[in-house]
């Protein structure tokens, strides 16, 4: 039985303008760095310039004497500073180096904190940080993941190896499919074998608000304000690693300026600020500079993907084997190896592959640590398979959409259990693709492509296809348990019915730009039949919302939204009994619709607001009634949700200069029920551009000594308004069946789908020249080099089976030599 007899969707689906905008538009926002407390000290970090070194001594005497300085602290001064934890060891054997917030005697990457200066102003702290004299004994560093596998140079000598963990999913062993080696052998003999190596370059999340932390140790309870996606997880880990009682720690994420996974971390800076605040007994603030963000905030991606796709001659895929080498950087971050492993269920994507094997080796290197960045594991998987499907189409000689249609799960086949063992509940790939084709003008653009090709135009046109799915709603607690993850994946909500008729909604999902206040209000307004304007959403504070698992992995709506529905239903059930008493009727005879309880067959009724007020007064309740309608709920899903979509991209490529220009981009996403189309559109726009940026512009590059050379916004090229075009976005809807709202999640979709769409388009523009890959990012220089070397390649546009992973060669792409970005 549902609590609501009839709930017209008045708010759900409406393009409500956002509640959170007013303060953001007028500069009345509560960013962490805006917080000032009496007597507050400002911190500056002294960071290692070396990628790998032993700290032989730290002389703080001069810095301590500098004007305004209250104290200078090294790692050994900060007893009980806590630990930066890995919450997802892939298995018992995983090698996990200890990660101290402030290093004591060893640094494993540039940017690691070796001392903290506390001063009365931020400028004084920074000046004094220059005066801390650290003696390092520089050690050899290993920067290349493949080189790290040899263990010739060790990132953490005490571990004895750089290999952190190996993780496998094999369909034959799991009983979810056939034997991949057999499929490969058959394809080699009588079918098609596509063998490729793809590089997922390292990226920087680059949220716009630099991270900032304020800790107030005054009083019994320690309060930390911090720019984080995960206040609840942070509170738990502070307690678990410092020994401070969990009840004495309050973490507040005030307004947070973007995250994209980059603020899904418990950071050395947060723990160092906490330690110095406790040590000095004074409120402390640390706000990083952008240059510090670039080197010290975890990076994303960074994988080498070795892929073998087996198919019959007509293009029916018979097996896929994936070998990942995932560079973790210097430490195993909070999700760490879990990020590439999330790809395990996604390489098979929307297709019916009979055999599959996924292998992932994680490895430590002397570079910035790596963790979740928008999509986390799923973009990498989607990139690989969508690139491969285009290669297969080229091999068979058919349109890339044809090869997908041949292999995808048809809409009649849902629910469908994939070769990786995941059950997809719903979807309609045909519908999304048909709509995308239509919006794109697919046939016209193909005709133009032919014309340009035949006319020998110097500017060629390419069309890129990306049909993707993702697993969202991270994550069912039982599955996380089976994967050895340290926490659950539920979400919590509370609804408080105030005496004035207003409603307070508390959610454990903590936003950083997603518009939760608006979307949650829409959901609760419909469910309770109260006005959108009468709802206030409280979030991001562990004292106000005591339970929560925060925001990442497109989980807020799918998991947190469902918790809201459950809490609202409990409010209604409590109210039903109070209303029955007030209306002198039996609870069974009451109908609840649009916020009103009515007695069947009479004109008697009462609004839920009046019931709430009556419950608050408590003057006239039935015997034994509790004078409150407030309710809590925690929702844990049984399985993931599976948004999907078809993205089409047209790129113009100037074969003389290597310059690329986006002509058109169409995205049709099926994200299930849409709560607010305006917010959905915004998520898609931003996500798509982040994925395009990986394809065309962004890469975190280190030099030979392990210094990040793209260490500021001067060198790390984020796209600007002038670099991009308007995307065409639309939605098809097949509701999810795994939550009552039918939602699937949208936060990561654009970023997952767009990278292969763009690269497929550029490769498609040049395929007739014999080019079948260019390494990301596709800078004009790389494209130009690819064109140049293709022209001199006597083999021409050969589509013969590729040589099997020639030593040192990347992607069989002669342009992408070891000197050209392949070093990391």
């Amino acid at each position: 039985m549902t609590a609501v007899d009839d709930h017209p969707a008045l708010e759900i689906g409406k393009a409500r303008r956002r509640k959170e905008d007013q303060r953001l538009l007028t500069g009345r926002t509560r960013w962490t760095d805006n917080i000032q407390l009496p007597g507050m000290l400002h911190l500056a970090m002294v960071r290692s310039p070396f990628a790998h070194a032993r700290i032989t001594s730290v002389d703080t005497s001069v810095a301590t004497q500098a004007p305004g300085v209250i104290g200078v602290f090294t790692g050994s001064d900060l007893d009980g500073q806590g630990l930066i934890a890995n919450a997802w060891p892939l298995n018992e054997e995983q090698k996990t180096p200890d990660h101290l917030p402030v290093a004591v005697d060893h640094v494993a990457c540039a940017g690691e904190i070796v001392a903290v200066v506390a001063a009365r102003s931020a400028a004084a702290a920074r000046d004094a940080a220059e005066l801390v004299d650290v003696d390092y004994e520089e050690l050899p560093a290993v920067l290349d993941a493949r080189e790290a596998l040899t263990d010739a140079v060790l990132v953490h000598p005490e571990l004895g190896t750089n290999r952190s963990a190996f993780w496998q999913l094999d369909s034959a062993e799991a009983g979810t499919g056939g034997d991949v080696e057999a499929a490969i052998t058959t394809a080699r003999a009588e079918g098609i074998l596509i063998e490729r190596e793809y590089r997922q370059q390292r990226l920087v999340p680059a949220f716009m608000e630099p991270r900032s932390t304020v800790v107030d140790p005054t009083g019994e309870q320690i309060v930390m304000w911090t720019a984080t996606q995960i206040p609840h997880i942070l509170r738990f880990l502070i307690a678990a690693t410092t020994g401070i009682s969990e009840a004495k720690v309050r973490v507040i994420a005030p307004d947070v300026g973007g995250g994209f996974g980059g603020k899904l971390q418990t950071t050395p800076e947060e723990f160092a600020t906490l330690a110095v605040a406790r040590r000095t007994g004074r409120p402390c603030k640390y706000t990083e500079t952008r240059s510090e963000t670039m080197v010290s905030c975890h990076h994303g991606r960074d994988q080498w993907q070795t892929l073998t796709l087996a198919a019959t001659k007509d293009g029916t895929v018979t097996g896929l084997k994936v070998d990942l080498l995932a560079d973790l950087g210097a430490y195993v971050a909070i999700l760490g190896g879990g990020v590439p492993v999330l790809g395990a269920w996604m390489f098979n994507a929307i297709y019916k592959f009979p055999a599959y094997q996924f292998n992932c080796q994680t490895v430590l290197t002397n570079k910035t640590w790596v963790d979740a960045y928008r999509g986390a594991g799923r973009p990498e998987a989607t990139y690989a398979i969508e690139r491969l499907m285009d290669e297969l189409a080229a091999e068979v000689g058919v349109d890339p959409l044809v090869i997908r249609e041949k292999n995808w799960i048809t809409h009649e086949e849902f629910p469908f259990t994939s070769v990786a063992g995941m059950t997809y509940d719903s979807g309609n790939y045909e519908a999304a693709t048909a709509r995308a084709r239509e919006l794109f003008g697919y046939d016209e653009l193909r005709a133009e492509q032919r014309r340009r090709r035949e006319g020998g135009d110097t500017v060629q046109l390419g069309i890129g296809v990306s049909t993707f799915t993702e697993m969202c709603g991270l994550a069912p607690s039982r599955i996380l348990g089976a994967l050895n993850y340290g926490a659950g994946g539920w979400e919590h909500a509370s609804i408080r019915m105030l005496a004035t008729g207003k409603v307070e909604v508390l959610s454990g999902a903590t936003p950083h730009g997603q518009g939760h206040e608006t979307a949650w209000s829409q959901i609760v307004a419909d469910r309770l039949g109260v006005a959108f304007e009468d709802i206030e959403v409280l979030q991001g504070d562990t004292q106000i919302v005591s339970r929560g698992l925060d925001t990442y992995g497109s989980r807020s709506l799918v998991i947190g939204g469902e918790a809201l529905v459950k809490a609202a239903d409990r409010v209604i059930e409590k109210a039903r009994h109070v209303a029955a008493h007030l209306l002198e009727a039996s609870a069974d005879d009451l109908r609840f619709s649009a916020g009103q309880f009515t007695v069947a067959g009479t004109d008697k009724g009462i609004s839920i607001g009046d019931v709430a007020n009556a419950a608050w007064r408590g003057h006239n309740l039935f015997d034994g009634a509790e004078p409150s309608l407030d309710s809590d709920a925690t929702f844990d899903a049984d399985t993931f949700s599976f948004p999907h979509g078809t993205h089409l991209c047209a790129m113009e490529v100037d074969t003389e200069t290597g310059a690329t220009r986006m002509r058109k981009y169409v995205a049709v996403d099926d994200i299930g029920t849409i709560i607010n189309p305006l917010i959905v559109e915004g998520q898609e726009h931003g996500g798509i551009l982040q994925g395009v940026a990986q394809a065309l512009w962004e890469e975190a590059e280190f030099d030979d000594s392990g210094t990040l050379v793209t260490g500021s916004f001067v060198d790390y090229t984020l796209p600007t308004a002038a670099d991009t075009i308007n995307f065409v976005t639309d939605n098809t809807v097949t509701p999810a069946t795994t939550n009552t709202l039918g939602t699937k999640g949208v936060g990561e979709a654009g970023c997952i789908a767009s990278t292969p769409a763009v690269v497929n388009a550029v490769v498609d523009a040049l395929r007739h020249l014999g080019i079948n890959d260019i390494q990301m990012p596709l800078t004009p220089q790389r494209v130009w080099k690819a064109v140049q070397s293709a022209g001199t390649d006597p083999g021409g546009p050969s589509q013969e089976a590729q040589p099997h992973f020639a030593e040192g060669a990347l992607n069989q792409d002669p342009s992408a030599g070891a000197t050209d970005g392949a070093a990391q």
């Binding site: 630099p210 952008r290 915004g682 726009h685």
Partner: protein, 167 residues
Amino acid sequence: MTRVHVTVDGVQYSDDIEPRMLLVHYLREVVGKVGTVIGCDTSNCGACTVHLDGASVKSCNVLAVQADGHEVTTIEGIAVDGELHPMQQAFHEHHALQCGYCTPGMIMQALDLVRENPTPSEEEIRLGLEGNLCRCTGYQNIVKAVAACASTMETSTTARPERSAAR
């Protein structure tokens, strides 16, 4: 220490400051105008954009002493009596902000853009905002909002764009 006299959002301030202090630090730390934010340390992001005598500047790229005797308008000075400026309203209407961190700078830059060119094309808007980074929106709705605002301000008889510069 140097004494500066600066008018910020219509109010006069006199302060003794270190000569090396950047305008953005003066606004945030001394005057308390924390609506103006800092996104980088290389003058690339534009998050700190304010108006100096009516024209946009990146306030991390100006010393506070250079503002001595001048008028500064920040994001906090453009709404009147709680009523949003048309550019703020357009950003709200077109969902041109997500986390909102870039928004103050983006709006101040957009106002400068339409002041100089009241009828900008999409291309001109994109170029005009090139110095302001946004990681959330993909810029699409920002461009839409600026275009919509420019056209309403053009046709509006109460022409408010100059007002922000004059205050």
